[in-house]
Structures are given as C-alpha cells and as structure tokens.
Symmetry: D2
C-alpha cells in the first residue's frame, strides 16, 4: 500500500498516519517530494486492505501495490491450469467447444442437439435446468427433471454436462448430476454460492458479471479456490455499457488480459455477448484469435420456438457452419480442434 | 408488441410472422408505410415476451408496448404504498432516516450508535450481521451473534432493525430477528432469494444492482411481490460507470423516475453511492430534494477503526450535523422530519 | 509519480528504471517491500507525464501523485472564483439561473421568453444560434441572425447572453455578441476551440462531455485558463451510461466533488441531464441542495412546437412553478435567489 | 414513427396527437389494443424526427421505424464501398494495415518506421502532425513541419499518408499533404469539421467517439457523405466503460454490426483500444477474425522514448511478429495480406 499525503500535511499528521499503519504490523517508509510526501507500507498488505486510510487526516490517496487475489494469480501457478472434463480437458492446446440449448426443454430436443453438436466437434453439452430469469413470469426451467435428462444424454453420448446452479440449497443436487457447475453472471458475487461450490471438487464455470471488473472476477474465482476447489473456468460473456446494438458489450480484450493475469482457463460466450445469431460466428472466431481456451455456444433444434434465448441460438446448420469456419482460426491460433470424424472414429 | 419488418419484406414472410403471433392467441394489425410495414400485436403481450421474434425471417425490430412488471407499476395501486416500520412508516409524508454501522462489530458500539442516531432523528437502525465482501479474505460479519445484538438494541431503543440476508438458507433465521430484510446490490437478481423473502410478510429493502436498469429493479421487486409480499422499499445506491472519483455513480434521477413509475417507496443510500464521508451530506440533501422517501446512512462511533466501509461512514458529530442540515431540505420538499426532542419527549 | 515494479524485478532492471527517471531531472527513492519494490520519483512530475514508463522492463504499475491540472485546482486559488455576468456574478452566494430556449427560433419567441424568465428570477438568457445536431438533416440554428436577436433582447432586458460557439472560425463573431461563450459537451475536448476561447477575456461556460471524467473536465478548463482566461464556469449535464430511462445519467455527485477539487463555479443543466420536462424541477432542486452555484434551464413559449429539445423544455408556467419551488431549497442551501419583485422593483 | 399512448388516453387526446402528426404531412394509422392504443405514422419520418412527440398529452413512448442515416446505410449501396488509397484500396478483399508512429517526431524516425512497416506488409503510413492532447501541457505535434515530413516519406516509399485534422481552419492545409484525413475520437461530433472534410474528395478516416453509439458513428459519417464525399472509413478504437484494465473497452462486436449496417469499410485500432503493447497482436487478430477490412497500428523505433502513446506502440520487431502472426488469421477470414516479398519484389 502506498499512501499519498495532502499538500501541507503536518508533521503530527504524518506521525499519526505512520502509527496507524505500524499498528497493523507493517513498516513505513517515507519519501518526501517537492509537493507531496509519500508513505510506502512494507509488510502484509492484506492487513491494511480494509482499514479506512482515506479517513485519516492528511491522507489524499491510497494505491494498492499487491493484487488482492493470490490463488487465482499467474504467479501462484507455474503452469496454466487444465480442468478435466471427462475425456477432454479445458486449458490445454485443444480448443473446447461447449454447446447446447439455453434451457433443457425436453428429452428429444436435448438428444437431437447433443448428437448434432458432438458430430460437429463440440466436447461438452450445456443446458439449463434451473434458469435465472429477469421476470418472475418467465419459464424457469424443468428443475430436477432437466438434470435427469442431461445425465441420460451424457450416458448416451459421453459428453460431459455443464449446467447452472443458482441456489446454495441446490448445490448438492446439481452436483449429483453435472460435470461442471455453472455460476451465472447475476450470481458472480453471490458469495455464499461461490463458497458452497468451492467445497466440492467439481469444476466450476464462472461467468463474468455485467458490471464486474477483471479484479472482481478473479476475486470471485478466489472465493471458490480458497475453499479448496482449484478447477475454475472463467467465462467472458459481455458487460453492460451504453451500447444498445448488441445485448451486451463483448469485452474481447478481457481474454488476453486474463490469460496474463491468471493461470485459469478462459472461455467466451458469444451467444450472450452479442445476443443475435448473426454475431455468434464472428465473435467466436475473434475470441479464439484473441487466445480463448474454449467457447460456450447456444444451439437449438428450432430457435424460433425456443423457450428462452431463441434470438441468439444457432440452429444445427448454423452451428455446423460456425464450426467449419472455426477450424482455420483455431489453427492460426496454434490450437487443435477435434473434428467430427475424429470423434466419431 | 410492435413488430417492424425489413424493407422489402415479402408477402409470405408477412403471413408467416402473423401466423406465428396469432398462434399465441394475439391478433395482428398491419400498417403499411412507405418503407416499412409494421405489425401491431393485440392481446396478451406476456405470451409473446419470450418468443424469439427477431429470428423470424423478415423481422427487423421489436418494440414492447407494455411494461413487463404489473404489481410494481404505478397503475396497479391507487395510492403510494406505505411500508410499516414499527411506530413509523416509510412512504408517507414523514421522511425516514435509517442509520447505523456497516457491520455490527459488537454490542457496545451498536448501542452507542443506536442511541446517538435516534437522538438525532433516525427512525430505524441498520447493521450488517452477514456481510457480502468482494474478497474472501475480508471480515464477513458476526453472523447470528450480530442478529442477537441487533434485536437487543431494538428492545432497548424501540428502533426497528434493517439487516441484510444473503442466502436462501438464512432467510428464516434473519427474519426471526429483523424488521426489514435487506437485499444487497449484488443479490438484486438472486431470484431464488427474492422468491424466498417474497413468501414472508416482512418488509424488504431492495438495493439496486450496479448494472441494473430501472426496469430490472422493478422486475426484481415484482419477484418479491408476486409471492404475496407487498412491502418492498426500493433503494438507489449508485451504479457502475466510467467514473472513478466516487465509489459509484449516484443516479439521482432514478428517484423521480421511480416515483413516477411505481407506487413503492424509494430511498437513497448516499454512503455507498459516494463512498466518501464528505459526500454523504450533499447527496442526502439532493436525494430528499429530488423526492426520496428516506435515506440509509452509515454511522460509526469511530470510522477510522471500522471493519468495513470506514471511508464512507459518518461519525456521531458528522451525523448530527447532516441531520441538522437536512431539516430545511425536508421542509422545502414538503416533508416532515422528526426531531430529537420530539422523539425523546 | 510512483513506480511499482514486478515481482522478481532484477537489480539491472531497477537500475535501468532509475536511470530513465533521473534522465528527466527527477530523483528516485527506492522502497523495498516483501513482494514488490517501489520507486518514488521526486521532482517535476510533469516531465514524466508522457514517458511510457509501463514499457520499461520490470515496471508493473505507475501511479500519479500530483493532479495534472494546476490553474483549475483548489490549491491554486485562495478564494472561489466569481465570474462576472453584467450586474450579476456566478460563484458567489446568489444562485444564478440561466434560462431560455434551446435554439433562438425568432425574435418574438425570444423576447417573450426573456421577459418571462426574468420576471421569474432568471439572471441570464440562454439561446443557441449555432446548434450542434447529431444528424446533418436537423435544424442547425439561425446563425448570425440568431446572435443579433440575442443582442437585441439583451438590450431590452439587460439579461446577459449565453450562447454556444462550435467552431474556431466563429469565436470572434460569437464573442462580438455574447456575454458568455458556451462550449458544448461534444466539443469539450475540441482543444483548438478551447485554446481560442482562452485567448479572450469573455467568460466560458464549459459543459462536461458525455464520457468525460472529472479530471478530463478540469483539464479542459485548464486549456482555457492556460491561455489567460480565468473565467470558466463548469457545467454538469449528465454522462452516458447504460441507463435508458433518462436522456443522460445526471452525475449529481460531480457537483460536490468539483466544489472540492476546484475554485471554479459549478452549475447544472437539468434539462439535458434528464431529457424530460417532469425531471427538470427535481433535478434542479437536487443540484442546488448538492451545492451548485447555478442552473441552466431550457424554457420555450410552446415546447410542443420547439425546433429542438422540446421534450425537455419547460413552458412559462412550468418555469414559474419550478422557480417558486426552488426558493426554499436555495435558502436551505444558504443561497439567495433573486425574486421577480426584487428585479422588477 | 410509432406512437404508444398512455393507458386511459382520451378520444380528444388521440385526435390531438393525430392532428399534430398529420400537420407534418404524414398519415396516421390507429391500432387499438387491450391496454394501449398505438398510432403508426406513415410518410416522411424525417419530418417528425425533431417534433417533441413525448410532450403531447397522452403520449407514453415513441419508437423510430427508420434509421436516421440514409447515405451510410447498407440499403443505399448495392456493393461495399472501396476507398482508394493510391495503389491500394480499403474495403476489398485485401486487408489494409496502416502503421506508423503516434506523432511525427522527426524525419529520421519516420523514414525508418515507414521502411520497416512497409517491408512487413503495411500499405499506408500513419503519423500525427497536429495532436489532440488531454492536457494543455503535453506535446501537440510538429504542425506543418510534420506534414512536410510525411509527404517526403511518401515520396520515398509510395505509402499513402493518414494524418489527423483537428480544426476547420486546418482542413485545407492538411488536405494539401495527406491522402487520408483522420478525424479523431474526440472530434467525431465536431460537426463543422465533419462538414468541411465532406466538401473535399479526400478519403476520411472517422474514429468512433468514446461515448458514441453505432448510430452516432453512422450519423457522423452521414455528415461527411451528405456534403458529397463518399469515401469514409470507419474505425473502432474502443469505448469508455467501467473497465480500468485496458485504456478503452474494445467493442469488437461493433465490427460485424457495422459490416451489416453500412457499406462503408471498417477498420480497428488495437493500439488505442487496449493501450498496452502486449494487447496489440491479440486484438488485431480478433478484429480480422470478426471481419475488419483493415487495422491501424502504432509503431515506433523506440517506444520507450516516444513523445506520446509509447506504452501502446510496437517496436519494429514486435510489428514484424504481429504481421507474421496475422497472415494465418487473414487467410482464415478469406482475406489476402500483401507480404514483404510481394511488395519489395
């Protein structure tokens, strides 16, 4: 922590600031400038994090020196983290595409989708059983019935299942079916939920909140990791800005920034970021070009009849086309992308 | 719902759009312009809300006609809602100031604070027992011990208690102590939590999320109300924008906009909005001038030693001064503000 | 300037960083922490402002210590600046309301407006002759004819005239008619225009840009002041955020923040901030409650026929009502507000 | 234009609304719903654009049906516009990379840069002679001397020159040297400047403003085009959001949205968008993957000594590496990228 004092700070004020800092076990180091005096605080910065330093007379500004996350930081791990997903893993050289409907609407539609996306190269199946909806009058998912369908389709296809958990009371239930527990954007700072999923050893897919900074996202990951669960996948899915032409503003640069800041794998959700079908392919290609380890894409047998997110869901042919186009970008990015043939073979 | 079609839409496309809309039980009404044809959809708009109309060939844009919330809308209630708070009520002519520490740190500090803020005119006591914290390494509150202290101090002073509930599993526990259940900004779209507090008859203080629009906030209130709980207090506490000079950006205009859109009472939280002590008074005065029904203000016996939010907490003298200044603004706004003498008397 | 080095920075890197800083004439002061080493740079920070310090190997972060503006900063002036406006002044105890139409549409409408707003207590007349319009197909003002009308109405009423200048080529012309040169939000960083108006001794009303931070606004003022013109009035008129319920997001807290950061007077423009007539009064009252030195309000004889901004313009009766309501808030804020009678008398 | 009326609108109000609309030469078309009545306005929507419809009693909301820009819209042109740049053109299959220093600092550095970027495949040279700077105390460019150097280096290399014009008074001067006139982000809504560059036949590179929507950007292009200049290049360079980890937030999705909305070519500026050297390559690759027609990249012989933007400028080797990496992405996107050999040959 670095403390910048006000112009004309008095000797008494300086002494008082130093005493306060030192009372938390840190040492202070004073550097007198021509207009401002600066106090460097040496020691365990964590101890100072919540001290209201700005309230001490004579203090003008405070700058953090250390990042508030530890386990999620790049420095903490020698190698990028690879999250196991049954036969696959996320965070290695192979690009992982997770695909499936927004909501599990029934067995048949999920089976059909799973087979088609698998044939096109997807390595995991997404599908919501518990759905967070902005309006209380919207469809909120099939609940446990949806989870059972997901598990059955996994049994058929071998595709690991990614599904959302919204409530601390559902963690155990969802974990009994899912391979990856998804935390939605609106729950990114539901700290009790983060704590609960951190207590399991099941991978967590953590979506960035609409108003979350990179630091907020990494602190949310830290919540999970600090409970003992090292398998967190970060997902950029767009932030809220003044823009209205897209559902959210896809913060593409977050991908390379995160790849530099953390050892955790980073994926993108082009469906929610853009909110329109025609944007899914260009955003997917861009995400991979920028270094993403994977994608999560909404696919539906008939988007026009989807119970949710139909405007941003690809139909099967569109998904096939997107995956075909993706291959060259994956290669340009030094990634491998498993093909239908390889999997079917 | 109004559907705007693309330039050059074909007759087949128009027919298909109409059929889709009519299949949901609405009637359509076509208006041909020189460049665009418009389809008005007459009937239960709710049925169309989640139909992916933009995905139907020929559709260019879709405009909602009705507000997606009902119970929270101005039209639903003849009179402004008044939320009972023991002897007081929020939403009437009397301005209600809720004051107290960010976190309950102990019995003595809470007692001292309660007595002082009551003497200065506060009508309710705030204090966190369960604290949402951005970092997993921060103090997260005293938990049930904090609730017990709040209840004890209420017994002493008669001040109703406002405290946060963060987890569906804690709703019953918190409700057994609190007069008002606070839903924090980060949980504004924790829909399961909203549903749970909606099942009680305890008033809910709902803080606006950092990226929440007015519509999002009212839909969150609708979640609570649709479960049967009519007593929701809305709280503007600042949104996240590009600004860095304040902790959040206080969206003052949200107050008169909400007063026009809904019958629910609206308060402001100047402490979180500004994030600095010197901003609490001007933001409070402005909120009242703009029509707020109340304020929620952080007060601490010694802000410099507070475990959380010390930089934005007033000390006792500052709170007294703020309340003294507030009286004239309350009067200018046609509000009454109970004084120390009146209460003490 | 404070330089934070990367974890594991080498001695060579440290030496190189210090050499670079010292080559600009500053001294360096090294403070070794447990995880990070910090280099304080003592001397003329301005010399370092544009050195790409982040590009030097071993540097992780750079924090500014001094504000980049000087003349506009609080520290530069012992007293708040008072800007003369003919008989009145802006920045003293008397609240100054500037009122008038968005655009000067003709002589009669301006005369009528000027007389009515003056009777209600306005101390200056606004009206656009050169209008910045988002679309090239919109009405762009009467040009010099509009300026002539403004000057004539000033001759009749004695009200000083505030009008916008958009182009360096027009500065001389506009200054030959106007008492105050307004720089619009879209031109807040038109640095050549700021420089030109800085060369005159005419007061400048500088509106905050839609994406401008407080620092950006003060640097724009610094442009004007650094040319020798000390009379800059700052105007908060809303910023652009994700909000859509109001035209802009009124950043009310900018008012007390600016009053603390600078000696320049600060006014608010509730018409542009809210964009709707019913918001003008509550936003005006709030601005005054938060410490604004004045207001700029759009008033039109018949808003429904206005060529621009009709949706946010008050009619005469609405303006009268707003001014009546304002009196009590002005008094609560320790301000005086001249009344019709006083002026008429 | 579609007008939605308030619930309970009276017959008189309806009549009055229709009369107002019809007085502008449009026809009205009323559609009565169960809760709301809608009035479709058929005819020249432009005539209604600035009528304050929201101020008419009974009106609740107004929706535009037509885009406010014409010449810039996709529908206006059968084919994508190709902007000639000497031997090259922007907007065709060949990707165009514009590279060079932020500011022209001298002849030697510009020559060296031009030769290196040309060898690596750049097809145009950028360099600022007039620099917009946030602070009045920063270096503002060499002025006409800078323009002369640019022209000399063009004579040597054949590279067309892109340089900024900031002031209506400089348009003629800058145009006498430059091949492309750049309008900076801060001047995107300097409407007089847009008008002036629209009067020439010189291509204009229009950078998106920090708070500009897609619609605002296209209306700014419309200003230029409505004066007779069809050669506008749009440039996404990041918008201002709550994010602080990058200089701006790169709105990647704007690229495919613009490619759909307009026939004008679209490029990206990864240097300003990210603000850090290590982000230039990933953002460039992503922009091309998303459909950009070109890139504008800052390159400097020694970024650590640059007078401006050093932290985001690539050195020669970094630029070479970026261009090498770009080839595969260009190919994946169906684009050609001229190589050093081809040009040198």
């Amino acid at each position: 922590m670095i403390i910048v004092t006000r112009k004309g700070v008095t000797a008494e004020e300086l002494d008082h600031i130093r005493e306060r800092v030192e009372s938390y076990g840190l040492r202070t180091h004073v550097s007198r400038g021509e207009e401002r005096t600066i106090i460097g605080c040496v020691g365990d910065e964590e101890a100072l994090r919540h001290v209201p330093l700005l309230s001490i007379p004579g203090v003008e500004a405070v700058h953090e020196v250390l990042k508030p996350y530890k386990l999620a930081s790049r420095e903490f791990a020698a190698e990028p983290t690879r999250v196991p997903l049954r036969d696959a893993e996320l965070g290695g050289r192979a690009l992982v595409v997770i695909a499936g409907p927004c909501s599990v609407e029934g067995r048949e539609m999920l089976e059909a989708t799973a087979h088609r996306v698998q044939a096109a190269g997807a390595r995991a199946l997404r599908g919501g059983a518990f759905k967070p909806r902005t309006s209380p009058y919207s469809f909120r998912g099939l609940g446990e019935e949806g989870l059972r369908i997901l598990a059955d389709v996994r049994a058929e296809t071998g595709l690991p299942v990614v599904t959302e958990v919204m409530d601390t009371r559902q963690v155990e239930l969802v974990a009994s079916y899912a391979d990856v527990l998804q935390i939605g954007a609106r729950n990114m700072q539901n700290f009790n939920l983060l704590t609960e999923v951190g207590r399991l050893q099941r991978p967590v897919l953590l979506k960035r909140g609409m108003a979350a900074t990179i630091k907020d996202l990494l602190l949310a990951a830290e919540y999970v990791m600090s409970q003992g669960n090292p398998h967190v996948i970060l997902c950029e899915r767009g932030i809220r800005t003044f823009g209205t032409e897209t559902r959210n503003t896809f913060d593409l640069a977050a991908i390379p920034v995160l790849k530099r800041e953390t050892h955790l794998p980073v994926i993108a959700d082009p469906s929610h970021a853009g909110g329109r079908r025609h944007l899914v392919a260009p955003l997917s290609y861009a995400a991979v070009a920028a270094g993403a380890d994977g994608l999560m894409v909404e696919v539906h047998p008939d988007p026009a009849t989807a119970t949710s997110d139909g405007d941003q869901s690809l139909d099967f042919d569109e998904f096939d086309a997107m995956m075909s186009g993706l291959a060259a970008f994956a290669e340009a990015a030094g990634r491998t992308l498993p093909r239908a043939a390889m999997i079917a073979g």
